[in-house]
């Protein structure tokens, strides 16, 4: 994830072209093996054990290493060893850039100092960013976060990586009381907490979610594409409800729906998280325990659900 944040900063500064960044990221993808694969190669896990951990990871929102330790397949020390073998994402990124001859180490370091200054990051923040760990990176971009919002947003990041398998990064989280919807897939959760979660995009940007989830091409953001987006949100919400049920907080999952050309409006603030997939922006919109209306700007009345 670090390569997405810093890489796109370098592109914005004209230090790398988009194509060069894509080449660096592609090379990293090829060389940075998954923890399970390394564990099998190191003969610390059998292929069957790795598969069992992967299967559990599909049901539970937990890290591969933590599950393997709980199952007694690996010790914490062995996980640390495997993480070292996997490599630090920042160092791998710098290595890929310099080996390709796009920049020197000194140039990268100078740009990193600029990046830190421009974003007002401390040294600790930079260490978190370099770690590539979503749970450490997210607080840097989510201001004044409420615990449930934070849990939902970071879970979404992990689900994008685990289910869609596409590189992305995110921008500063915004708090808003009004949001203009062009195309948005939505699902609500009801119960001990009421949650509204939507993925929203302009033009055909939602296709990046729909096509990578459904593994098929759509001609545009039509009903089938919306259906795929909603199914992805359904997977996130299921995992979120599962996490909360472990703390005896019960939520009921509602039937998903979608909206086009509406306005989401509330007297209270909700969170908007810009997600960047290459050059396409998709917003994650989350409202927890607040009343809201979906308004048709043509008639300014709350609208019926579609889907």
């Amino acid at each position: 994830m670090f390569e997405q944040f810093f890489g796109n900063y370098l592109v914005g500064r004209g230090k790398l072209s988009k194509e060069e960044l894509n080449r660096v990221i592609q090379k990293q993808k090829e060389t940075r093996a998954k923890l399970g694969l390394i564990a099998v190669a190191e003969k610390l896990l059998t292929a069957q054990e790795a598969e069992e951990v992967n299967e559990i990871q599909g049901r539970l929102d937990r890290r591969f290493g933590d599950i393997a330790v709980d199952k007694g397949f690996l010790t914490a020390k062995q996980v640390e060893h495997l993480l070292n073998l996997q490599g630090n994402p920042y160092l791998c990124f710098v290595q890929s850039i310099t080996e390709a001859g796009f920049m020197t180490v000194e140039e990268v370091e100078a740009e990193l100092a600029n990046y830190q200054e421009e974003n007002g990051f401390t040294m600790t923040d930079m260490e978190a960013l370099k770690s590539g760990d979503v749970d450490r990176i997210a607080p840097l971009f989510i201001p004044d976060w409420h615990v449930l919002y934070f849990e939902y947003i970071t879970l979404t990041f992990r689900m994008i990586s685990r289910i869609l398998h596409i590189p992305f990064y995110f921008g500063k989280v915004r708090k808003q009381t009004e949001y203009e919807i062009e195309c948005m897939g939505v699902q609500e959760l009801k119960g001990a907490h009421d949650l509204f979660a939507g993925l929203s995009g302009k033009n055909n940007n939602l296709l990046v979610i729909a096509e990578n989830f459904a593994r098929e091409k759509f001609e545009g953001v039509n009903d089938d594409a919306f259906d795929a987006v909603c199914e992805f949100i359904n997977c996130i919400n299921g995992m979120f409800a599962s996490n909360l049920s472990g703390r005896n907080i019960d939520l009921e999952i509602c039937v998903p729906c979608w909206y086009q050309n509406r306005i989401l409006s509330s007297k209270n603030q909700f969170y908007v998280v810009p997600l960047y997939f290459d050059d396409k922006e998709v917003d994650l919109v989350v409202a927890i325990d607040i009343a809201y209306d979906i308004i048709d700007p043509k008639c300014e009345e709350p609208t019926e659900l579609k889907g």
């Binding site: 049901r59 459904a214 089938d224 199914e231 359904n234 997977c235 979120f240 409800a241 999952i253």
Partner: protein, 120 residues
């Protein structure tokens, strides 16, 4: 090879399930998009197994399951649901569901559930 009825309101989920089931050598004899359609299709097609989503419009998976079991108490129904539906899954098992799988599932997980249900 089993004759299977898929019930899910999501076209994406139905397609994914259909491809997995066909890949496992089973025959998909029908598809329904809500619980009400599921009950009608169950009577019409008499499938060996039904894969039944829980959260659906018109009639949800739990109510559809109860109607299917009322028609045929030996009906084999696998609930297919998002994670986090523990209480609903328990309700379904009590109502006569044979097993459940969690979305997004792999072909192997689905095969395991089918194998178990077909053995019994």
């Amino acid at each position: 090879m089993a004759k299977i009825l898929i019930v899910d309101d999501s076209r994406t989920s139905r397609r994914m399930l259909r491809e997995m089931l066909q890949g496992l050598g089973h025959e998909v004899i029908g598809e329904a998009t809500n619980g009400q359609e599921a009950v009608v299709c169950f009577k019409d097609y008499q499938p060996d197994i039904v894969t039944l989503d829980i959260t659906m419009p018109i009639l949800d998976g739990i109510d559809a399951l109860k109607q299917i079991i009322a028609i045929d108490p030996s009906a084999k129904v696998i609930m297919v649901t998002a994670a986090g539906q523990k209480s609903k899954i328990l309700e379904a098992i009590k109502a006569g569901a044979s097993d459940y799988v969690v979305k997004p599932m792999t072909k192997e997980q689905l095969a395991l559930a089918l194998e178990g249900v077909l053995k019994n």
